[in-house]
Symmetry: D2
Subunit: 475 residues, 4 copies
Amino acid sequence: MSSSESAIDFGLLSPGYAGTGAFERTCDLVFGRAMLDVESALAAAQARAGIIPQDCAQTIADVVARFELDTSVLATGVRDTANPVVQLVVQLESAVAAVDERAAGFLHYGSTSQDVLDTAIMLVSARVLEDIGQQLGRCTEALLGLIERFGDLPAAARTLTQHAVPTTFGLRAATWLRLVLDGAERVVAVRAALPVCMGGAAGTLSAYAEYASARTAGRVSATDVVPGFARELGLTARTVPWHGIRTPYLDLVHAIAVVTGGLGKIAADVLVLSRTEIGEVAEPGSPGRGQSSAMPQKRNPVLATLITTAARQLPAQALVVMQAMACEDERSAGAWHTEWQPIRECLRLCLGASSNAALLTEGLTVMPERMLENLKLTGAAIVAERLAAALAADLPKAMAKKVVTRAVGNGAADGAAVLATIGSITGREDLDIFRRNPVELFDPTRYLGQAADTVQEVVGAAPDVLDALSRMSHL
Amino acid sequence: MSSSESAIDFGLLSPGYAGTGAFERTCDLVFGRAMLDVESALAAAQARAGIIPQDCAQTIADVVARFELDTSVLATGVRDTANPVVQLVVQLESAVAAVDERAAGFLHYGSTSQDVLDTAIMLVSARVLEDIGQQLGRCTEALLGLIERFGDLPAAARTLTQHAVPTTFGLRAATWLRLVLDGAERVVAVRAALPVCMGGAAGTLSAYAEYASARTAGRVSATDVVPGFARELGLTARTVPWHGIRTPYLDLVHAIAVVTGGLGKIAADVLVLSRTEIGEVAEPGSPGRGQSSAMPQKRNPVLATLITTAARQLPAQALVVMQAMACEDERSAGAWHTEWQPIRECLRLCLGASSNAALLTEGLTVMPERMLENLKLTGAAIVAERLAAALAADLPKAMAKKVVTRAVGNGAADGAAVLATIGSITGREDLDIFRRNPVELFDPTRYLGQAADTVQEVVGAAPDVLDALSRMSHL
Amino acid sequence: MSSSESAIDFGLLSPGYAGTGAFERTCDLVFGRAMLDVESALAAAQARAGIIPQDCAQTIADVVARFELDTSVLATGVRDTANPVVQLVVQLESAVAAVDERAAGFLHYGSTSQDVLDTAIMLVSARVLEDIGQQLGRCTEALLGLIERFGDLPAAARTLTQHAVPTTFGLRAATWLRLVLDGAERVVAVRAALPVCMGGAAGTLSAYAEYASARTAGRVSATDVVPGFARELGLTARTVPWHGIRTPYLDLVHAIAVVTGGLGKIAADVLVLSRTEIGEVAEPGSPGRGQSSAMPQKRNPVLATLITTAARQLPAQALVVMQAMACEDERSAGAWHTEWQPIRECLRLCLGASSNAALLTEGLTVMPERMLENLKLTGAAIVAERLAAALAADLPKAMAKKVVTRAVGNGAADGAAVLATIGSITGREDLDIFRRNPVELFDPTRYLGQAADTVQEVVGAAPDVLDALSRMSHL
Amino acid sequence: MSSSESAIDFGLLSPGYAGTGAFERTCDLVFGRAMLDVESALAAAQARAGIIPQDCAQTIADVVARFELDTSVLATGVRDTANPVVQLVVQLESAVAAVDERAAGFLHYGSTSQDVLDTAIMLVSARVLEDIGQQLGRCTEALLGLIERFGDLPAAARTLTQHAVPTTFGLRAATWLRLVLDGAERVVAVRAALPVCMGGAAGTLSAYAEYASARTAGRVSATDVVPGFARELGLTARTVPWHGIRTPYLDLVHAIAVVTGGLGKIAADVLVLSRTEIGEVAEPGSPGRGQSSAMPQKRNPVLATLITTAARQLPAQALVVMQAMACEDERSAGAWHTEWQPIRECLRLCLGASSNAALLTEGLTVMPERMLENLKLTGAAIVAERLAAALAADLPKAMAKKVVTRAVGNGAADGAAVLATIGSITGREDLDIFRRNPVELFDPTRYLGQAADTVQEVVGAAPDVLDALSRMSHL
């Protein structure tokens, strides 16, 4: 088995994103190509600023366009120099030189490894964020559809695993939707802010400036190149070098954490709701999906499991990026290097999770009857809060609560029995609660608070976010 | 030793914030009081909306103002009910009832534990963020002062622990300043967005709505109370309940992570720069500070150590909060509960770090001579990048780099020797490099790239941030 | 509010251990006292080795015994010197000097802050591990009791949230028991290995050696003191200083992680099994436990929630300790300092979790009828694996599985219907499955595999562990 | 670009192990093959127990030996079923059936996905631990060599970044060696304990037992197969299923964390010691290693940077595994799935780090002169602890320390000056310190405490560990 053959990966151990395309969108070749694109964009921008000849920039662009990385050499290079750029530049330089030796002299001109790699990471991140945005758009549409169809269904709300008060499926889905919108808003904002990195060997732009000055007789400064460089790549022109200012990565990882955590909440709910004993929703079925290798009857909540996996793994990756912010020196020995793989893994997990969430929300089966059955399971107990409120018209609130606690016992008593018990405990017949319409009082579907208003508020926020997502994906 | 005596804490094992006041600003009593304030604010807002009598709200406010928590009972309560609110309400209710039994009936009116605790956490966070903002303001002023006094000092930039190219102390301090500004901007933004939490038992505002409707004959809805509730507490009116939408906590923790990570970078640099062999800066001295229990001569970089501690501990706390976002059900069994202590610890570590950073930056001793000595240590090697650039006028860039590598050897060669070696390696006397002014060419203080421009750009951004910080602390 | 008053903590935000005594067993005063004990033990050991006068060691011991720490001064001291020992020694020294100035000269004799604090942490850890061991002993006894009473009850096993095959409550409880035993074994082993730390200023034992040599005319070496020092404190005599070798802390934290993770699994199961719709177990009830502040009917699974909280928080603390292993220099600036609080938090969370787990397992209510009802919910589907195995006698295994998948459909079909469907799908009447006793074939309680054997194997391992735990707590 | 081409990885963003072979030893194909080996071993063991025909097991083994996985299909399979085993069995089954349909019926006989994947992970872990052991053996030999050659060299010990007291290079290297030995001991112990996983669909071994019973007329039980299964794979026979008892993974990850953390400490020291201003050691040079893409003169401490990267990333991976211990149900939806990739990443990072550490320790250049120069930098201050001890013969210890603090000032004073200052501060001429031989008193190389003894103790422990490592690699 040759080295490169043995290193083929296909997500076998990464259920958080296997099969979603997240791997392919962020594999080593993608990052390798992004680094090449960065070198090409830098040359183009320097050419436009008059620092290097236009034809040389063109040659570099041409060579980059058809360049094939020798990946096994690159891995060795990483071990030799602690980053992949040194070896990549060596390879590219020789390819450019083979076409035009003069052009090779203008490659990576004044640049440093960290500029190239940080900018490449931003470039890949930009593309993946756009993909994530698309998937979140799908989730948004799907959840709007679910709310439209099933929004009014009453259901048992659960707190600390126990039936609490009635709610609606709509409010549950609106919670999911609000999470998706929260994530989408942060993705859009952070995508728009992703900067290029241009600092030179140690943040002074030293060689960039040296070359710029020498070749334009001082007319052009190194930072003049930044806007063009950024424009080539669809990134933001940041003139303050950030080798030692890692805020852009923290902002990126934050947006990703909000998206993935939010989808994780949806998945956590689906796992509960699709339990055999609960069965209020079911994952979309498709041939092969959800099978067990042992049990013929199984239809496992696979997508929710995959999203859960991503949501559980992501914060640990984010932590590594956060810790790297406290780096020493102008460029650090180790802190910088720890960021790359966790950032990639964040992108993968988030894209995987949002892609799986799109499938999940688009195909979610909702079981109105099971919701209703479950809602009735706890009988009068599920409106115990309401009974206590009604009773509080006549009794001290704390006492009202105690009376109701005893009256509803361990659940499932019917209304008449509960009222009778209240009567016998309190020894009073004059309570306001006895004058209420008992059917209405005990009907869980008439104790939904402001669920419908909240759903409308959340739904009303969706169009703006969808619009922003759609603008982002046309960048 | 009684239970409460034994539980006195003073930060013994928390050097990240011991002695900074961060403990006192966030101790159990502070959170206990914040919960009381929340109950009082809720009553006030409900009174203003006409849901409860004004005099009852007043009574609640009066009792809260002089209420003394029985802390040992509270701890037992947490174990009994998995949160401190149930027991706190019991205690407060009985205190209110002692004054006016009717008022006690309007306490915690329609509310639930999570509303009270989440809002209380936001309230404490708001105050602590304001404190952090003040400290960041001090850091900003101090760094501006350092830049003014020492900004032009040349120094050796270090990458991967080795001398790289020349830089200025000003650029180093501007990097620190930009980090402080990044943190401050995020603190200001997140402070302004901290929401109240009002969702009722399970997010439908059920009992709030029930009471509002009953007592105002349907004129007032539960969400009408939110703006008043928020105004009482100086928080944002959010009408969508967020029991299951934990984005506000992630945003909070993100801002804190940026601040603390940024200060951690400053500390990491100070630890390097104050090493015995480097000695370019020293921590502020004061009687007792920096002592060792063993070694009389020691003056340890204590503040940088304390900040480093905070920066290393914080991401782990943030991770716990991030993971809790994927919570199940309308209110979760465990996910919610894991958030409280890590959020408090984040507040403590960040306030501790920013308070220590203010001391550090205000008192930092800068040693210009040591900077210059160190800069000279590596002789011509520190401008090797420039030599390669100069040589690239005549030779292919890759070859120019190789020639310089050999010529500067392992550092410290002087300019004449380097030029001679270049001549003998290349066998050419016609190179442009030989026509350059050698004094200028080899002078590290004349190879500072655009350091000064970058410093100006960063400094120019400070006033707006200072202004925003100052407005925040007047809230 | 005075500083010390404001700093009273009672676990308000730490449901993982509030009210369990874990706070009191590990509060600042406990660590402060442990440090005093370490100073006293060092003096005693040095006296026994002839390095310091016996009466001075006795004086130190006497003063330590009645010494009252001034806690507010200590916090300031931590900020001044980055550790609490420097200030603590100053206070203690002056107290000893007040009795006998000569004795004060032999306090902290040759020692350094890290020796005192690391040893004190080990001392507190030893005591807390013994407490944890006691609680795990209670859990073991309780689980043995549950297995004895309910071990044979059949129940539905669940995988990926769905009914899988039948199991027994005994096997479930045996899984819990094996986790408790795993934790207990590691606690016993790591307790026995906790070392004292004795390295002096920088690991050479320099001043210890200097004093030992000077005062015994070279007869006694510094390491000769180690065994006596360890014996005084009930710790292990380790002569290789471990200021830069943090394995003992990683081993400690590993044992704690196994305990807490294992209890977390028990809690995770209890949360599922006590869901309203499942109801196979219920938490022990007691007045006040499990109440909601909003809903009168609630009986929340509080103990499982508390344990879950601990299990979710602990790994983040462990991570900080792990990362601190990669510390720089003979003693580090920051890495060491980050260890203290996370180690304490690990001890607290683990003691809290095991104490709550003891309550939970001792009082767990088991509902045999609900188990049986749930088991019947999925009818023939829960033995689908068995049907496929039976069918595989005549059909290719893959085909057998497909046939069964279709035959059991979406659950709950009865045996006769399933057999009929198999007949019609396969078109064969000669299959072995038709000759099996259908009652037995479809009876989930007769498809329990080797559950009983496994239970016996786990139960059989308990006595040795109980024995080891009991020996540990008599140290 | 086809899907499989695009997914080629070569460690581009993983400097912690790029180019070390760690990727190749743990890539998807390796895990895929390990799963195939597990299926083959299970069949072999079942054949030996008389449950399936010998020739079928042989056919399975033959097909496995030449089986080529279709990787793109596998990735889709992971997304469909949340694990790679279902699809892998489908592929393998059809390949076996192509040879002998009867044999296909005995493949994965009674088994479940988790049995196959958990056992495969253990199998790969076993091999990688053996590799790690070999690298640690190399580190041990290298460090023993360094100690032999340079062990007696005096050097400045540093605490909190500042010169503390003298030490020896030998003690520094012995600290490194002890860390390597700690890691090696844990690797050997955990390797020996790695278990097979055999639990069937839900831990009852249901189908295993069903088949065993049916095909041996009850003579053979499912657990009888375990020892043979384990022997085939070189793993430990564990009869208690551990689907819900994740201790084996925690133990594995703990051993890996100790190794990687220990190597991280070595790297942290090398980064400090190879700083331009310190220069006491240098990394092994080789053509290309340590280059910068910008600066011709750079020789970066690349290996230490790579090891640091691994040490910083590993704890976050370990955390994910720790958190997964608290899994719900007989087999969980998400917890199990989060373990796989972090465990693989742990193996990779640890093998990468130990392989890089072997290179680093074998080639480390030690600079005795720089050590001595640095040691002299702080003059009398570095023996200040000794001076205080000497002075304590006549003055109270606290006062002695104060006098010395003033006398040594800010370092570098020579002995005579210090003595004179002590005289003038104390106003006494009769102090014992004035009678000491000043050359000896101030000579840092004569204040080395028990460094040499400690070195010998650590060195003495190496042979047993080397022996155990060598036995492990012959398994």
